[in-house]
Amino acid sequence: MKYMLLIHGASEKCTVDDWMDYGKALTDAGVWVASAPLADQSLTTSVQVTDGGETVVTDGPFAEAREVLGGYYLIDVPDLDAATDWAARCPGARFGGRMVVRPLVDFP
């Protein structure tokens, strides 16, 4: 079962080494599928298409610092307990940050 681990409000106290070690642990365990860090949220742009077919591009939206989505890991593990265990090991879970665990739709 695939789970997306979303990194919200990661602290700057997490070092590059912390993130590298975590990524290595995921690949060593054979559960890593994909991952990516997102660039600074000040670079965020929204796009919506109105009922009239007009494309509207706007700056933002901007979340509060502790809610900013900073990146994700996609992992493949047997169940939610395994997913939350991996989320707990992520540097993003510490120093006031929060990991949000979402299962992917499981197509039979």
């Binding site: 079962m1 047997p78 169940d79 939610l80 307990d81 939350t84 665990v101 299962p103 499981d106 039979p108």
Partner: protein, 407 residues
């Protein structure tokens, strides 16, 4: 004759439903399927047993029947089956019928699933009642005083999370237990407290619900005999429930501990609970349920040892600080040192937001003010409590206190 068979069949189902369901969940890893075939097996038993007689091993008969139904269902629904290891299912079909007395007890896994931290706390007690105590959805709804449809929706939503997010059916590893066991204990205790001091409605104690909680605690205690907090929870519930008959008077009003008729206390339950308290508090640092059980044990003694109760509340406060513990401690201090001392402690809690909206705070204040002869202030506090109180026996008690003050 048929009536006798039906009565014994019902009794067996009560006992077997949770076991059967847990064993089927373990085998097929799917709560919905397990639930359906459990019901079908029981229906089959209702038709067959009155004719053929109750089998020698009813549990094994039900398990064999349910497993066959599950396999039939999976064969019909291939997409569904594809998601549940089909090979295992085929092997299962070829397996011999369940032998007598070897039905494995898989309920511990189910306890942990129903109380999983990823499920809403408010639903964990309901899930435990439904799947481990074997209550119907309608019975669970009645227990929580909500419409059947509301409860059905909550259970369906929880079940969807269990299967959709794949919350596992497993017993946590020993190193995980300290984090996971309190959730299971809390779910059972929430059933007990819901039954005990019914937060709303005509009865102070909904005995059936408190007794379901006791039954669940006994099962858990058998499954985890070495866990001292499980022992502590069972002891706490036994020693509290022992006073049930004395807690309401002939008029249906609440009776405070000091006015209770001791002869109405359930001696057998106290005798069962007391040695469990000793076990719960021996062999390691005390846990919150063990300490609360010890407090309950002291309430069951005559005379009540208030200094010791105050000491235990201090211990409890260091383990699980909460304004409700502070409030109970203040009342115990009042009993030990007089109402003035207790009232001073209560006044310190006046601004506590977590006590706001609870009738117990003004009710306790009113009682201490009454004992100090400060009638006008006592009446104000009792009136405040009356606006917040939900249960009828407590309302009667407060009204009687007000009457005394006015008269």
């Amino acid at each position: 004759m048929t009536g006798d068979v039906n009565a014994s069949v019902e009794a067996i189902f009560r006992e077997e439903r949770g076991r059967l369901l847990a064993a089927l969940v373990r085998r097929f890893g799917d709560l919905d399927l397990a639930e359906e075939v459990t019901s079908e097996a029981i229906e089959a038993a209702l038709i067959r047993w009155p004719v053929d007689g109750v089998p020698a091993s009813p549990g094994a008969w039900l398990m064999t029947t349910a497993r066959r139904r599950a396999v039939d269902r999976l064969r019909r629904d291939q997409t569904y089956a594809a998601r549940l290891a089909l090979l295992q299912v085929e092997a299962d079909r070829a397996a011999p019928p369940v032998a007598d007395g070897v039905l494995p007890d898989e309920r511990l896994r189910l306890f942990f699933t129903c109380s999983h931290p990823a499920l809403p706390e408010a639903d964990r007690g309901a899930l435990t009642l439904r799947y481990l105590a074997g209550l119907t959805t309608a019975e669970v709804a009645r227990a929580y005083l909500v419409p059947v449809e509301t409860m059905a929706k909550r259970l369906v939503r929880a079940k969807k999370k269990i299967s959709g997010a794949r919350i596992p059916f497993r017993v946590p590893e020993p190193h995980e237990l300290p984090a996971r066991l309190p959730g299971v204990l809390q779910a059972i205790y929430s059933i007990f407290t819901e039954g005990y001091a019914a937060s709303a409605g005509p009865d102070l104690v909904r005995h059936d619900l408190a007794e379901e909680a006791l039954r669940l605690a006994r099962i858990l205690h058998r499954l985890l005999p070495g866990e001292r907090e499980v022992t502590g929870l069972l002891a706490l519930m036994l020693l509290t429930h022992a006073r049930r008959a004395a807690r309401t008077g002939p008029d249906g009003g609440l009776v405070l501990l000091e006015d209770q008729d001791r002869s109405l206390w359930d001696r057998a339950m106290i005798d069962e609970g007391e040695p469990l308290v000793v076990t719960a508090l021996t062999g390691g640092p005390p846990g919150p349920y063990g300490v609360q059980a010890a407090i309950a044990a002291l309430h069951d003694e005559e005379p009540t040892d208030w200094p010791q109760i105050v000491f235990l509340y201090d211990v409890l406060r260091s383990l699980t600080p909460s304004p409700v513990v502070d409030l109970n401690r203040a009342v115990a201090v009042a009993m030990r040192d007089g109402p003035e001392a207790g009232l001073a402690l209560l006044d310190d809690l006046a601004a506590e937001p977590r006590l706001r909206g609870l009738h117990v705070y003004p009710a306790a204040r009113g009682e201490l003010l009454r004992r100090l002869g400060r009638s006008a202030e006592a009446a104000t506090a009792f009136r405040e409590a009356l606006e917040l109180v939900g249960s009828e026996p407590e309302r009667r008690h407060l009204l009687a206190r007000l009457d005394d003050l006015n008269g």
